[in-house]
């Protein structure tokens, strides 16, 4: 193994929304010595991978975009995946960062060299490692397709498709299809599938709360106004932002307003589903917000089409030709669609990360991930996470949170470079205090109100969500306080060695 000699100032891992955003802001802040390492041959991350029919965002596009890269051309309130992907591509081209992206680079591990204050990055199939003073781990929580834990999964002989790796060559016309999962992807896929397939059987374990969606096309005039007077775009974005913020009162916290959200969803169900038994099967037995809220006008009508059937019997096993359920019937079909989401990094890490003194991040996170402000982890200097532990919103745009993280980490990187630090490491006591408070706040949230969801580990630890308003999170991340960190200068001549680090009070 060899390591290239010239270290980067910043290595960004992943060319999805977060990685691209970080790169653009680094450049805007005058930090140019960076590279983005992307395992695929295209940018886009989750939006490149999720191209299933009907794929769209649950957050209005005006808000599901960066404030520093406004787009007046969104075609409708809630854009589909191809339009979002187009937006990411256009950001890459307009910002000029494309030459900095190294496609086909799958990172196999990160090892921190404490002597030099450098991260060594290894890649699959490449002998040469890359050195970087800082690393932005923007690999994303929704990057690896998650498969359900069902016996006999490997024995199925028909065609299988995961929503995050859609097979566009497969023709569903006249086919018998099964969909496993009834979450956010499923409610978008199912209405599309029932149009072509001979039959669609939807296997549901737990129903989710489904809210109606008002999706309008953006008129040409509105686009003109947004283009000519960008302030109108900011105002529209702010309006969406505050609208979503107000929803937090019912969705984030388990409060009387949660009942209001549930009432809206129940009215939606009642107005769309006439059969009482089907309605009962589709009524959740947990608080709204506990699991991700679903937004769709087409899902319930699709379930009631003649060629569609909701199956709620427990799944026993997958057999070579179909799925056996506990009422004793083997449901057979030609194609099995898994709309089962992602392997969310609540524990462990997507790639091995070895920090100071040989510590391994996955080991430290095996009971549940944690970080300081979701971005930095003590023992892993110069490493910054996007969408790290406890940064998920349940009510607002992920992009708002991501933008706050990007501002924070690019400032931290600026601090490291400006002061020529060898190490910038969050103080353990600050990190612990932050997380103790955060976990205490989480106890009053809907996510911790008793349901099982992908937000929680098997032990019920919430390593995923942020228990507050978007404004609170943004304010928490508004400024890098050097007092939260141990700052170690790079130059030994300055008289400060590895074990004689300046404390933040000097900063």
């Amino acid at each position: 193994m060899t390591t290239s000699t010239l270290p980067l100032d910043v290595a960004i891992i992943g060319a999805g929304f977060a990685g691209i955003g970080a790169a653009i802001r680094l450049r805007q802040k005058g930090i140019g010595n960076f590279a983005i390492f992307e395992r695929d041959d295209r940018v886009g991350g989750t939006w490149r991978d999720n191209t299933y029919p009907g794929a769209a965002c649950d957050i209005p596009s005006r808000l599901y975009s960066y404030s520093f890269a406004p787009n007046p051309d969104w075609s409708q309130t809630y854009s589909g995946s191809s339009e979002i992907l187009g937006y990411i591509e256009s950001m890459v081209d307009e910002s000029g960062i494309r030459p900095r992206i190294r496609f086909g680079h799958t990172v196999t591990g990160l090892v921190f060299d404490e002597e030099q204050g450098l991260w060594h990055i290894g890649f699959a199939g490449r002998r040469r490692k890359v050195k970087a003073r800082t690393v932005v781990l923007a690999s994303g929580p929704l990057a690896t397709p998650g498969m359900p834990n069902i016996p006999g999964l490997d024995t199925y002989e028909g065609h299988t498709i995961h929503s995050a790796r859609w097979d566009h060559d497969y023709d569903f016309t006249g086919k018998k299809v099964a969909v496993v999962g009834t979450g956010a992807s499923a409610v978008q896929i199912i209405p599309e599938l029932v149009r072509d397939a001979a039959s669609v059987k939807v296997f549901q374990r737990t129903p989710g709360w489904v809210l109606p969606r008002v999706n309008r096309r953006t008129s040409g005039l509105a686009k003109q106004v947004y283009r000519r007077a960008p302030v109108t775009q900011s105002l529209a974005r702010d309006a969406w932002f505050w609208g979503h913020e107000s929803v937090a009162l019912g969705v984030v916290w388990n409060s009387p307003l949660t009942r209001v959200v549930e009432s809206v969803a129940l009215l939606h169900l009642r107005s769309q589903v006439r059969d009482p038994w089907l309605r009962r099967q589709l009524t959740p037995d947990f608080r709204a917000g506990c699991k991700r809220l679903l937004i769709s006008n087409d899902y319930y009508p699709a379930l009631q089409r003649d060629n569609c059937k909701l199956i709620t019997w427990p799944i026993v096993e997958i057999a070579p030709q179909g799925i056996r359920t506990a009422e004793g019937i083997e449901h057979r079909f030609d194609c099995l669609v898994f709309a089962t989401g992602f392997e969310v990094a609540k524990q462990g890490t997507p790639i091995p990360v070895t920090g100071r003194d040989g510590r391994v991040l996955a080991d430290e996170w095996h009971r549940g991930a944690y970080a300081y402000k979701s971005i930095a982890v003590s023992g892993y200097p110069n490493l910054f996470l996007t969408f790290g532990p406890n940064s998920g919103p349940g009510h607002n745009s992920a992009l708002v949170y991501m933008e706050a993280q990007i501002e924070y980490l690019t400032d931290a990187i600026g601090l490291l470079l400006d002061r020529d630090l060898r190490m910038l490491e969050v103080r353990r006591d600050r990190q612990d205090r932050y997380n103790t408070r955060l976990q205490r706040r989480l106890t009053a949230t809907t996510w911790n109100s008793g349901c099982r969801s992908w937000y929680l580990t098997e032990d019920g630890f919430n390593a995923t969500m942020y228990p507050g308003f978007g404004t609170q999170y943004t304010r928490e991340l508004a400024r890098v306080n050097p007092a939260d960190y141990v700052l170690t200068p790079r130059d030994p001549a300055a008289g400060v060695g590895v074990d004689d680090r300046m404390t933040a009070s000097l900063g």
Partner: protein
């Protein structure tokens, strides 16, 4: 020692079986003599519908269970009762008891119970559901299935009912454990549950559906030439629960159901004047007074593969 609900859930998941596991065309169907065939046909139809009714009861229990494990157990029991009904329907088909592909209509007493369960079972408390459903299971399922296994030589039926029996023994073990669990509730809660439960007019409707169903089933058994003692000995098992686990006796509803079962098995009890009259009265209820058959009771199938 406390009942291991997690262990039970693991056992339930491990012991699943499917209709496709059974060779429905295997020889043995011819062992049903024409005389037995004629009597067995309505009996099997009732049995199948009672399984379906039990399924709906467990679906209601799943909504009331205090822990996720118990909710999951009841979700399985709901499906397993449906599986029993499906398997019994498949046996009827094997024996040529179906009119083409048509699923037999439930009798009036079953229809009344279906209607009641559809409208009100989800509102009933765990202590009501948790005592009445075991009683139904012990009395009807246990006795009827015992009859079938004793009287029918068809090896396929024997295989099917062996599997059903194994499922039922897990249902009953859990039912009894839940009754014990209910017995640990405070006196205040037990009292509120009892008064609140009986104060509902809907519950009285349920009682008036349940009473004739039991006596009707007894009539059916007698009509088949079977000693009704089989039904009674099964019902005595319900009484034995309270003797084995005295804490269950704290649940007032258990005591009421137990008392009622004592009346049922005492043919000299004046209760039968009322119950038998109810059977006659309910038999005259015109179909139009019953609501539309709910969709959950239309999902039975004899096809192992869908």
């Amino acid at each position: 020692m406390a009942f291991d609900f997690d262990g039970m859930l693991g056992k339930i998941k491990a012991r699943q079986w499917a209709l496709a596991d059974i060779d429905w065309d295997a020889p043995g169907a011819e062992l049903i003599e024409p005389e037995l065939h004629a009597k067995l046909k309505p009996f099997m139809a009732d049995l199948m519908w009672i399984e379906n009714v039990g399924a709906r009861g467990f679906a209601a229990m799943a909504k009331k269970a205090p822990t996720e494990t118990l909710r999951e157990i009841y979700r399985y029991f709901h499906a397993e009762e449906q599986r029993h009904a499906n398997a019994e329907l498949a046996l009827m088909r094997r024996w040529g008891m179906l009119d083409g592909d048509t699923i037999p209509e439930p009798n009036i007493n079953v229809k009344l119970v279906i209607d009641f369960l559809d409208k009100h079972s989800d509102e009933m408390s765990l202590s009501f559901l948790g005592t009445v459903i075991p009683m139904l299971e012990v009395a009807l399922d246990g006795a009827l299935i015992k009859f079938v296994t004793d009287e029918i030589a068809d090896p396929v039926a024997q295989e099917v009912f062996k599997k059903i029996n194994a499922d039922e023994s897990r249902h009953l073990a859990t039912d009894y454990a839940v009754m014990e669990l209910l017995g640990h509730a405070t006196t205040r809660k037990l009292f509120i549950d009892l008064v609140g439960g009986w104060a509902k007019p809907s519950f009285l409707v349920g009682v008036l559906s349940y009473v004739p169903l039991l006596n009707k089933m007894r009539d059916n058994i007698v009509e088949m030439g079977v000693d009704e003692e089989k039904l009674y000995s099964a019902m005595r098992r319900f009484k034995a629960v309270g003797e084995r686990a005295p804490i269950a006796n704290r649940v007032p509803m258990y005591r009421i159901v137990k008392m009622h079962s004592g009346w049922v098995i005492n043919r000299g009890h004046p209760y039968h004047l009322f119950a038998d009259a109810m059977v006659k009265v309910t038999a005259r209820i015109p179909d139009r007074f019953l609501g539309a058959q709910p969709t959950w009771s239309k999902e039975l199938t004899y096809e192992p593969v869908a």
